[in-house]
Amino acid sequence: MINKILVVAAVVLSIVSLTLVAGPLSGTWEANLAIDPSPFAFTELSSTFVVNYTLGGFTGTSTSEFVLSGFIWQGFGVTGTLGAFDIQGDLLFGVSTADFIYDQVIVTTSIAGIEFGFYAAQLSKAVLGGPADGFVVRLAGSTQGLDIVSISEFGARIEDEDFHGITIYHAATGLHKHYTTNPLVHGQCFTGQKITVSGWSFGCVNDIAATMYMSQDGFEFIKFDLTEIESGLPWLAFDLELKFTLQTKSLVLTPTLNLGETTCIDLYTAIVTDPASPVSISGINVYGLGFSYSWNGVSIKSLSVFKTSCYAITTPEYGSLIESIAEALENGHEYYSNYWELFSIEVVGDGCCGGNYTFLANTYFQCDSTSLFGWGMTHIEASMPISSNLFLNGEIEIDTDGLNHFGFAVRVSW
């Protein structure tokens, strides 16, 4: 209980201190309201308040996030340069439970052509998976055309090609925060060493990279990545990954199809391989067709998905692209599972006060719809600046059951 009181007091004191020392302050406040009309419910009521304070080359940031159920996150950050060192710090509190959640410090510099990075982080016991703490030392440099990266792990990992950093979730609301340094265990020392050498290039291979990873238990894996192996056919290339673990060896050969660039029509294709024999190419699958064109600030786009069991159109927030469902899930993208076709028109123009106004209308079609032309849903959103410091955004979605979403957002900056 005392700890919780101390944490709340620290948060309040920090916010008040920042306000009292009001000098070169800047920031934004953004509020979102979303309503599901049937049955009537607030599906989102969130507010994000960011205050930046700059002092002596360092910028401190305070980020507060509220949703309908309460005050969820309070984060503090600092970035700046001290001599030759770039410094970044992050601190996260869970306000609804009055808990310290996470902190990280990242110090980077470049000495004699060698990039040096020190990453340290702590995860609270209030988080499932905690308590944990650790640090990582990263060294990177080039010699004779080769890029060499050494990552020494002492109870933590950092985000790179093989690892994802850390995402911390609030279990009740699903709200999450993402950071680079992932502390794995508590009180741990050496836990891993990874060395990557890349930049080898032969005439028929664009890039060869070798990565070896050792953990505190010994050898974990060594892998070789060969990118864009030429096949002799200008439209066909291969990527190859050869990986050895202590008891296994795997070889993944991924054929890639390069049909070149087109002006306005995109053909989405994939090479079909036999599941029983992945090196056997059995065909080419055309899973999507796209058309796009822009002139004078007006963009029109059409996307059609022919294999909806494996591919889908991502939501406007994720660019309205055709993406494989497996990749969308891996990349954390939202997609529409019910619609196979999109017609979109977007208009962008100069706003009154320095910003741009935008208008976007997306119409989606579904296979099993009995409505006109198989119409499934229309998503309309518009945003416009009211003044140089005030920005408004609104969106509605109408589907075959009627209006199913209404949202409104306001962003104020100073």
């Binding site: 159920s69 499932l128 995402t167 009740a172 889908a312 994720y318 899930l329």
Partner: protein, 189 residues
């Protein structure tokens, strides 16, 4: 004079770099020395997480999440033998929705009042960690709750993306936060 000043500053910068490198080297050696004999890891078990009820007026929702799921992640979940228990919630109003690629294949919250069951699966990928289900409802009393009970028999079965049963695993209902080594979750909308 000016050249002398520049030369002095240059010497100081070089010395500073040497001092910093020296300190870093000492720190690294001390850290490595401190590690002697302390090589161990805490394996975390696969975990099913039931979030707390979030209320908006007379409507509420509970999120079901997972973390540390092995075998390329969780691909199916079956909560049978009326393993879902709820209090002060209208039976007919309960609806489970799949998240992060999961589809709810079957659900029943009306046959036995206060009890429920469901089956959900992700046909495209496994979820090593993240939110998999959202259960929404209307309340009919104060302090509504909805949770999963394990009981003496296996009321909950978890299947992996590699078509194997995930076992052992933990049920967690008292943690407000969880962390994962993965990208943020997306899914069907």
């Amino acid at each position: 004079m000016a050249n002398n000043g520049r030369a002095t500053r240059g010497v100081i910068v070089v010395r500073m770099r040497l001092v910093v490198l020296g300190l870093l080297s000492v720190g690294l050696i001390v850290a490595l020395t401190a590690c002697m004999g302390q090589w161990f890891t805490h394996e975390q078990k696969a975990t099913l997480i039931i979030g707390q009820v979030v209320l908006t007026g007379n409507r509420g929702e509970v999120l079901v999440s997972v973390t540390n799921m092995p075998q390329e992640g969780l691909a199916s979940i079956a909560i049978d033998n009326l393993g879902i228990t709820y209090i002060n919630i209208k039976d007919a109003s309960i609806e489970a929705t799949g998240l992060n690629g999961f589809d709810v294949l079957a659900q029943d919250f009306t046959t036995t009042p206060g009890k429920g069951r469901l089956v959900a699966a992700n046909p495209n990928a496994g979820s090593e960690a993240g939110t998999i289900l959202k259960i929404t409802f209307e309340t009919n009393g104060a302090n509504p709750s909805l949770t999963i009970e394990l009981g003496d028999t296996g009321k909950v079965t978890l299947g992996s993306h590699l078509n194997t049963l995930i076992d052992p695993w933990d049920l967690v209902t008292n943690k407000a936060y969880y962390a994962k080594d993965a990208a943020s979750t997306g899914g069907a909308k």
